[in-house]
Symmetry: C2
Subunit: 114 residues, 2 copies
C-alpha cells in the first residue's frame, strides 16, 4: 500500500501545445503498479489553461480547490471546489482558469498503451 502526500510527488510543467501555466504530478501510475487507470494532479495558475483538444479516452476529474471554466462541446461550463467533471472519450475539452487564484484538480485517465 502506498500512502503519500500530493505535494511529495514531482511536479513538471505541461508542455503540450496549447497548455499555459499548468503543472502536472503523476500521483498513481505505472511505477506504483497501476495497470488499469492512473491518477494525476494538475495545478493551473491564474490565466492558465490545459490544451483545447480531444482524444479517444475519458477524463474523470474532481476539483480540489479553486474555480475554472470547462470549454465543452455544449459551451462554457463553470466549476469550483468540490465539483466532479466527466469528459467522455472523443469530446473536445479544455480547463481554463480565469480566476485570481490557483486551480487544483485531480484527473484520472485509463492506462494508455505504451
Amino acid at each position: 500500500m502506498k500512502v503519500q502526500s500530493i505535494e511529495s510527488h514531482e511536479q513538471a510543467q505541461v508542455t503540450l501545445e496549447g497548455a499555459r501555466d499548468t503543472k502536472m504530478r503523476t500521483l498513481i501510475g505505472p511505477d506504483d503498479g497501476a495497470t488499469n487507470f492512473h491518477m494525476r494532479h494538475f495545478e493551473i495558475a491564474p490565466g492558465g489553461c490545459t490544451p483545447h483538444h480531444s482524444h479517444n479516452y475519458e477524463h474523470e476529474i474532481v476539483v480540489l480547490s479553486g474555480q475554472g471554466v470547462a470549454m465543452s462541446e455544449e459551451g462554457e461550463r463553470p466549476f469550483k471546489t468540490g465539483d466532479v467533471i466527466f469528459v467522455p472519450a472523443n469530446e473536445r475539452h479544455q480547463l481554463v482558469n480565469r480566476s485570481g487564484r490557483r486551480l487544483e484538480v485531480i484527473c484520472l485517465v485509463p492506462a494508455l498503451e505504451p
Copy 2:
C-alpha cells in the same frame, strides 16, 4: 460533459459486512457512460470504518478532508487531507476514522463485470 457537485449525488449507507458509519456516493459510474473505471465518494463518521477485506481489484484514493488510519498488510498507515493512497489488487485493507471529525475520500475502482 458532466459538471456536478459532489453533494448533488445521492448518498447511501454502506451495508457491506464490517462497514460502520460509512456513506457512499457514486460520482462517475455506468449511468454516466464510464466504462473503464468509476469514481465514488466515501464519508466516514468519527468511529466509523470501511470493511477489513481484500478483492481482486485496486483502489486509487485521494483524501479530501479529515484524517484516518489505513490498516494495511504492513501495519497501520496514518493519512490526512491531501494524501493519496494506492491499494494494490488482493491486498487486505481497511480505512478507519479514529478522529473526532468527518473523513471524506474519493476512491476509484475499475469498472467491474456486471
